[in-house]
Symmetry: C2
Subunit: 121 residues, 2 copies
Amino acid sequence: MSNVELLPVLDSSVVVPCCPPLTERPLDAEEAERAAKMFKALGDPVRLRLFSAVASHEGGEACVCDISDVGVSQPTVSHHLKKLKEAGLLSSERRGTWVYYRVEPSVVAAMGKLLAGAATV
Amino acid sequence: MSNVELLPVLDSSVVVPCCPPLTERPLDAEEAERAAKMFKALGDPVRLRLFSAVASHEGGEACVCDISDVGVSQPTVSHHLKKLKEAGLLSSERRGTWVYYRVEPSVVAAMGKLLAGAATV
């Protein structure tokens, strides 16, 4: 047995995992502030459609150029994608002309975990 | 073997299950409208604290009288609990003087399911 692998490998995401399952104990003010920000980002129908468009796109990523059927202009799409990124739900990478967005699995998993507990009450 | 148990027992919730996992395909406008309403209800820090206070309360239910430590007045607590109920996340029952709230597991499970898919992209 070697000690080499004892330290956990942290991913490079800047978004810190947030909050215990909602059934465990009442969230404190700071936790609620952080988690509410993520839920709020998905609390808009257009943003939610865009998020699902990215999440379900081939290869798990999409650029504005791939998303055109939600009935809003391209600048509006860009604006909403930026909001989702600020909430930590999407990450982005510029490649040539376009910025490509992908779902940030650790953050979305944390949201799912928050709810998973509450669903079994 | 008897046939008596073959039919699933449906719970009496009026809230219909919503939407495929976000990775499956882009949500359509109507699905996004419904799901965004649920996320929006949790997109406020005070409401999220109240929701976790109910979800983590003994017996899985709580009345306004049980929740007093989120730093807002009792009428404000009542207002937010009503909003959570309107979004389908809580159900309520009046018993004597107080209205008791509990988490609506099917709706919260549906929200978790929406995200669960997206977290594995």
